[in-house]
Structure formats: structure tokens, C-alpha cells
């Protein structure tokens, strides 16, 4: 239970513990992030390093706000991808890890949302 609560600690802090606002922001995260991850997955499949870099940079900070630092670290790696140093398989492997970790996190966060 402690781990679950920690996921929302920063959010509570940002929103002065306002449950309604926490709920709305959690809903927004659960709505926007899956489509961002989907986009990123497609870019990884195409080995589109420019868009991998941009998208990873954009969502990295939001993910870290939920204490998902392991996902944040992988996204940071992807942020420094470029055509010369990136193997197509490498992007796909990292993306797979991100999706796995995020699916677990989404499940936890949905439970949190239901309990608010």
C-alpha cells in the first residue's frame, strides 16, 4: 500500500492535497499517456530517431512525477538516440520495457483513481 500512495505523493504536493484536482489530473494522465506511448512505439518500430527523441523528452518529466523513475531513465536514454548510434532493435527493446512497466503502473494508478 505504501508504494501505491507514493505514486501520488508529488501530485498531492503540487495540488495542495485537493482530491478533486488530483482525480482530474490522474484522469488526464491515464488518458494522454497511453496514446503518447503508442506514438512512441510506432516511432521505435520505424526507427524514427528524431521523433523518438522529441516524444521521449516530452513525456519523461510527467512519468517521473508518479515516481516511475525507472521508466524515466529509459526515456532519457531514448532522448539521446540519433541515427548514427541507434540500432533499430535497441529502440524496440527499450520500448517493450517501457510498455511493460507502464502497463503495471497504469493498473496501479487506475486502482488509486477508483479509491479517491
Amino acid at each position: 500500500m505504501a508504494a501505491k500512495n507514493d505514486r501520488l505523493a508529488l501530485l498531492r504536493d503540487y495540488l495542495d492535497n485537493d482530491t478533486q484536482q488530483i482525480k482530474e489530473m490522474l484522469e488526464l494522465f491515464l488518458k494522454t499517456l497511453p496514446s503518447d506511448l503508442h506514438e512512441l512505439t510506432v516511432f521505435c518500430e520505424k526507427n524514427d530517431t528524431e521523433n523518438i527523441r522529441k516524444t521521449a523528452h516530452r513525456i519523461k518529466s510527467s512519468v517521473k512525477l508518479f515516481g516511475l523513475n525507472n521508466v524515466g531513465d529509459i526515456l532519457q536514454k531514448m532522448e539521446f538516440f540519433n541515427k548514427k548510434n541507434t540500432l533499430p532493435q535497441q529502440a524496440k527493446t527499450l520500448m517493450k520495457q517501457v510498455n511493460q512497466l507502464m502497463n503495471q503502473a497504469f493498473e496501479q494508478l487506475r486502482e488509486e483513481l477508483a479509491s479517491l
Binding site: L10, L15, M25, L28, R58, S61, S62, K64, L65, E79
Partner: protein, 449 residues
């Protein structure tokens, strides 16, 4: 007093941007607008935000480019850069280019942003307060509020002051002590385009000759014994504003030469220093002496005299301002009664005549003191002649100040009374105890009266 603060948050991550917006909106005095791209923000700058929180890594434009565009039109607008990753080199460059602050998105972002925005709010509140105070001062120093009177002599002064406020020409004010030279200088400054910059008065006669240079131009550390730190001089403090040099005629010859150089070159060097500092200061000078006479006597440099003469304004002595005496007396009486919680007092006719019959060698300052005392001495609603006391004889001293013929004395006396009674010939004749025709006959002989 708190004022609303308009904040732009520019952030391409919808979730992160919304979170910052909601966080900053916890303070109801913040009005937060969220933008997803640099161009969106630039298009809305006409809304005049007070601060911009700008993500460095935007999809359409890099943060430094967005900031550069913002600074082109709004150089004073604080821009806080919030970056996804720490990059010291970029941070230093952005701060050099005018960013208000730079920080990385991490667990401290919330508090740093909150504190930085609060600092900007405090700065804005202080700036607004300062502007309001400056406006108050401007009102206070509006010509008609500061210099009371409607005599023709004073109207001439107003007309010259109007000319002075629309230019940066040096103004030289002359007039007897107590005529209000510093008030006129302040009124010119606070009604001019320099009103929001400092007005720095300095009385030359009050500063020993050996200190005046460092007082005016400042000094560097170690310039002389006791100069433990650098000190900025009055010229630098008054930068963009007005420097009022009162009793300029008392300045010694050596200092006159140095002042002339600064006026000519528009630059100065602090005592003991080498750095040449550009200066943009409007000069207003004043003296109770006749500066032209001081030049003739060799006490004042002729070249400096012409540099300082600029627009000369001569303040009339109170004895030449006719019924202004009564107008001013009423003003001072009301002021003192209000200040001391006394009921409003009116001057009796005898009191008014007594006031009009005096010559006021100390001018307006003396009248103010006389009225203050009269207001205190009077117990009822009226100020009568017995409440008014003068400290010197009521003889118009300038009339007898030089030897002349009886005919010229007559003319001087008539002139004095005409001025005093606003050129009312009937009243002047009555006061002098002669007929109107006698007065006209005497005047006829002197066309310039």
C-alpha cells in the same frame, strides 16, 4: 497591496503543463494561461503577461529562440526557463541572454517556480507602489498646487516654467530668500519627462569646498584617507533625472572649472578614479545673488555663467505679488488650522490690510510663519490685526535701496503700489492719498511705468 499576476506557462507536455497551471493557480491572485507551443505564446504576448515559464524543449521552436523573440518586444518581461535536462552551458548562456531563472524539471521544480513567481510578484507590487507614489508626487508638484498665486508677476513665472518642462534646457532660478526656488525646481522636474527619474537637490553653500567635488562626482575606494569604499556622486544618482544646485554662486573657482568640464563633455570621472562615466542629467541652478554681477566682480566664471543661464526664471518677491499675499495667507491659515485640528479661521478686513501693508523680507516663508502664529494666537473664528505681528519694519526696502531723485522715488512708490494692487489705479491713488489725475500726471512723465 497585492495585484493580479498574469503568468504564461509554455509547455508541450499537456499533463505537465496543466499541472503547473493548476499549481500556480492555487494562489487566487495568479491568472495562468497555458500554451503548448512557442508560437502560440508569441501570438498572445499582446495580453501583456507579467512572467513566462518557458519549457526549453518545445516542438516548434527552441526555448532560446522563443525567449529572444519575447525579449525583442518586451525586454523587461521575466522569462523563467524550465528544462527537461540539466545543461550548465545552456543555462549560463540563457541567463546571460536575459533569462530571469533556469531550472530543471525535478522534484524541486514546484517550490522553485512558486518562489520565483512570488519574487516577481513582490517586484511588481513594489514597482506599482513606486509608480503610484511618483504620480502622487507629480500631483503634489503640479504648478497650481505648489505655487499659489494669480498675480501678473507669478503668471510670467508659470509661463516660463511651462517652457522649461517641455525641454531639457538648463534652468537658472533667481529670487530672494523664501521665494520658493527649490519648489519651482521640483515642480519643473516632476512635470517634465524626467519625472520618474530622481530629483537630487544639493545646497552648494552647505558643503565645504574641499568636499563638494566628491559629493558631486563621487569617489573611488582609496581616493583619500577615509575613502574605504567607492561612493557614487550626486550626478550619477541623478542619472536621467534632475540635479538641483542651490546657491550656485557660492561655488569656488576650482570647482566651477570642473563643473564646466562635466557640463560641456557630459561625462565625469570619480575622484581618484580613471573610468569616464557618461552622464545625462538636467541641471537646475539657483541663487539669491545676481549671477551677472558676480561675473563682473570676477567671482563667477563667465563661460560657466553662460552654460548655466539657460532659461532664466526670476521669482518675484512677495511684496511685488499684490493680492497673492491674501491668497497665500488664506491657504496657510487653512493648512495650519487643518493640521492642528482648529476650526477654520477668516481674516478680518483690518487683518488683510495689515498683511498687505508689510514688505516681507523673508517672502513666502516669512508669511507662512506669520500666519501660523496668527492662527495660534486667535481664539475664535477670525484672525484680526492684533493677532498679526511682524519682526521687521514694513518699509519696502528695495525702493530706498539706492539713491535717486525725488521724482524717481515717486515713480518707484507708484510702481510698487500698482504692482501690489494689480494695476488698479483707483485703489492705488486712494492708498497714496492723491487723486487719480495726480497719479496719471506723474505716470505720464514716465512711459515705462
Amino acid at each position: 497591496m497585492k495585484h493580479p499576476l498574469k503568468i504564461f506557462v509554455v509547455e508541450d507536455d499537456l499533463f505537465y503543463g496543466e499541472l503547473l497551471k493548476r499549481h500556480l493557480s492555487l494562489n487566487p491572485d495568479n491568472e495562468v494561461h497555458l500554451f503548448k507551443a512557442g508560437k502560440e505564446c508569441l501570438d498572445k504576448l499582446y495580453l501583456k503577461p507579467d512572467v513566462i515559464s518557458l519549457d526549453y524543449g518545445l516542438p516548434d521552436m527552441a526555448g532560446d529562440k522563443v525567449m529572444k523573440k519575447i525579449k525583442e518586444d518586451y525586454p523587461e518581461l521575466p522569462v523563467i526557463i524550465v528544462s527537461g535536462q540539466e545543461d550548465i552551458k545552456t543555462a549560463v548562456k540563457l541567463l546571460r541572454d536575459g533569462a530571469y531563472d533556469y531550472f530543471v524539471k525535478d522534484t524541486d521544480t514546484k517550490d522553485r517556480l512558486w518562489n520565483t513567481v512570488n519574487n516577481i510578484r513582490r517586484h511588481k507590487d513594489l514597482s506599482i507602489e513606486l509608480d503610484e507614489l511618483k504620480d502622487e508626487i507629480k500631483q503634489k508638484y503640479a504648478f497650481r498646487n505648489i505655487i499659489k498665486g494669480s498675480s501678473p508677476a507669478l503668471q510670467k513665472v508659470f509661463s516660463l516654467m511651462e517652457k522649461a518642462i517641455h525641454t531639457s534646457i538648463t534652468v537658472s532660478i533667481s529670487g530672494e530668500t523664501g521665494t520658493g526656488k527649490e519648489l519651482v525646481a521640483k515642480a519643473i522636474h516632476y512635470n517634465s519627462s524626467r519625472a520618474k527619474k530622481p530629483f537630487i537637490p544639493i545646497n552648494v553653500s552647505a558643503i565645504p569646498n574641499e568636499l563638494i567635488e566628491s559629493e558631486l562626482f563621487g569617489y573611488e575606494k582609496g581616493a583619500f584617507t577615509g575613502a574605504n569604499t567607492r561612493k557614487i556622486g550626486k550626478f550619477e544618482i541623478a542619472e536621467g533625472g534632475t540635479l538641483f544646485l542651490d546657491e550656485i554662486a557660492e561655488m569656488d573657482a576650482n570647482m566651477q572649472t570642473k563643473l564646466l568640464r562635466v557640463i560641456q563633455e557630459k561625462e565625469l570621472t570619480r575622484v581618484g578614479g580613471h573610468e569616464v562615466i557618461k552622464t545625462d542629467v538636467r541641471l537646475i541652478v539657483a541663487t539669491h545673488r545676481n549671477l551677472a554681477e558676480e561675473v563682473q566682480k570676477g567671482n563667477f566664471r563667465q563661460d560657466l555663467y553662460y552654460r548655466l543661464l539657460g532659461l532664466p526664471i526670476t521669482l518675484p518677491p512677495l511684496r511685488q505679488r499684490g493680492l497673492d499675499v491674501i491668497l497665500l495667507a488664506k491657504y496657510f491659515a487653512n493648512h495650519y488650522c487643518k493640521e492642528n485640528g482648529l476650526e477654520k479661521k477668516t481674516f478680518t478686513k483690518a487683518a488683510r490690510d495689515k498683511l498687505m501693508g508689510y514688505t516681507y523680507p523673508g517672502n513666502v516663508r516669512e508669511l507662512a510663519a506669520i500666519v501660523e502664529l496668527a492662527a495660534v494666537m486667535s481664539d475664535g473664528k477670525y484672525i484680526d490685526e492684533q493677532h498679526i505681528s511682524f519682526n521687521s519694519a514694513g518699509v519696502p526696502s528695495d525702493i530706498l535701496s539706492e539713491e535717486t531723485t525725488l521724482a524717481d522715488y515717486n515713480i518707484k512708490i507708484i510702481r510698487y503700489f500698482l504692482e501690489k494692487y494689480n494695476n488698479n489705479v483707483v485703489l492705488t491713488a486712494e492708498k497714496l492719498g492723491v487723486g487719480k489725475s495726480t497719479l496719471y500726471r506723474l505716470l505720464k512723465n514716465k512711459k515705462d511705468v
